[in-house]
């Protein structure tokens, strides 16, 4: 087992040049999640347009894995339907819980397949999941608000 399997070039690229970073208006829900054991933090906003994830913006601090994971997440979910994005979420969570035993589907996960190696390091899985958990939380809140306003 070598760190090379965790620090894939794709991950390092996203870490050095994160996509969609920064907090933007408008948004329907904002959440703040942190990893208390290591101090990684993220503030994440979701804007929905009907059933479409119109935008995901974020401000975060943390290790390369947590930063790259947030960047990869935004690429995968912005512009997709909530249902489609949810499938990517499910696939990513399953991959991170696989302890390196799962061959990821590149059609579903795109750049996120690079995180397969991270799943072999239990201490780092939380880093990779931080942005995804925040996104899930924000989507649930935004969807609930939307239902509340239309009923």
């Amino acid at each position: 087992m070598s760190a090379d399997s965790m620090y894939q070039e794709i991950i390092l690229d996203h870490y050095r040049n994160p996509h969609h970073k920064g907090l933007r208006e408008p948004y329907d829900a904002q959440v703040h999640h942190l990893n208390p054991t290591c101090g990684d933090e993220i503030t994440l906003r979701v804007a929905l347009d009907g059933d479409t994830v119109a935008d995901v913006s974020y401000d975060s601090e943390g290790c390369s894995i947590s930063q790259a994971s947030a960047s990869v997440l935004t690429d995968l979910v912005i512009g997709r339907s909530v249902t489609e994005a949810g499938k990517a979420y499910d696939a990513f969570v399953e991959l991170m819980q696989s302890k390196g035993q799962l061959e990821p589907d590149e059609d579903v996960l795109e750049d996120a397949v690079a995180f397969a190696g991270v799943s072999k390091y239990p201490a780092r899985v939380k880093c990779a999941l931080l942005a995804w958990m925040a996104w899930r939380d924000a989507v649930v809140q935004a969807s609930a608000d939307m239902e509340g306003s239309t009923s």
């Binding site: 760190a3 965790m6 620090y7 101090g39 943390g62 390091y121």
Partner: protein
Amino acid sequence: MGLCMTLDVARIRKDFPILDREVRPSVPLVYLDSAATSQKPAQVLDAMRDYYERHNANVHRGIHTLAEEATAIYEGTRAKVATFVNAASPSEVVFTKNSTEALNLLAHVLPFGPGDEVVVTEMEHHSNLVPWQLACQRTGATLKWIGLTDDGRLDLDDLDRVITDRTRVVSFVHQSNLLGTVNPVDVVVAKARSVGAYVVLDASQSVPHMGIDVQALGVDAVAFTGHKMLGPTGIGVLWAPLARLEEWPPFLGGGEMIDEVTMAGSTWAVPPHKYEAGTPPIAEAAGLGAAVDYLTDVGMDAVRAHEHELTAYALEQLQAVEGLRIIGPTTTEMRGGAISFALGTVHPHDVGQLLDERGVAVRVGHHCARPACLRYGVPATTRASVHLYTSTDDIDALVEGLRAVKAFFGA
């Protein structure tokens, strides 16, 4: 092995079986996380195995041979610990689960209430902060704290403002686990005494590395833990003068801590048993006794001198790494061998991961001292920490690893 005038490190390392292992094939362990927990010499492991193989019984109960042997081992360690920290009597040594339990015990039994104030410092481990926060919530007392200076010291100019006539307890750390700072106990004690406050010292990081004299410190209570001083996990120590242990109420109730029990009420055993409810950590006491013997044989003066030399070397080598910032004192003056740092913009998690690839074990995170991390504007640090078995080769491996981390991240 690096040159060391004060200690035969090569010989000492032979006593620690784990230092021979490889983390991965052909990657030997470089252990620089002794502030989290120390490694254990074979003598400690043997003592625990011998206890279970030959003497296992409950203590202070029964009159059979094994029970008497187990009791002798358990009480023997109490006497060894008392001598090790220069307590006036073994009865002043209370065994707990760890330092955290000792500090929680104190936060429960020390007398304070609404209008009273409890003082800690901004460099406390959570174990000497959260119990006092809880106690203040419970009693209506107010928690205050002494701030820190930019170079990682207690802000002593703050003392007169923070410690007042309302202060009932001052509880502070002897040596910071995050910053490595050794605090001037005499200055804080003098101020606390002038207002009649109890003084508690968290000596978790000082007892294993410098040895202490509890009577000379002039405090009311000291907490430390076995597993950082070559002993096993699961056993810690509370020291307090006998008069205090007699005066304060019990903490946990149960067997062993009582004198006379009726359905209507109970009276308490004499200290230290008054504070040792339930079956204690007996095998752990056997191990701790062996650890104290080991440190005593080597000599705490030699341990201290060796670590002082190593710390000087590490500070010098680390500061030669471009972009590395020490969080804490940058010289060996009033400082121990736990060294926290930031490496440019590389997150400590990434530093720790890549160092592990090279077999170098360091701690990353907030080290259970998050307020101090916030004070210095870092969410987390990387920390290297030494013990008597650490060599300059270990420091060299760390520094070489850090240069590789910088190269990897282009930092």
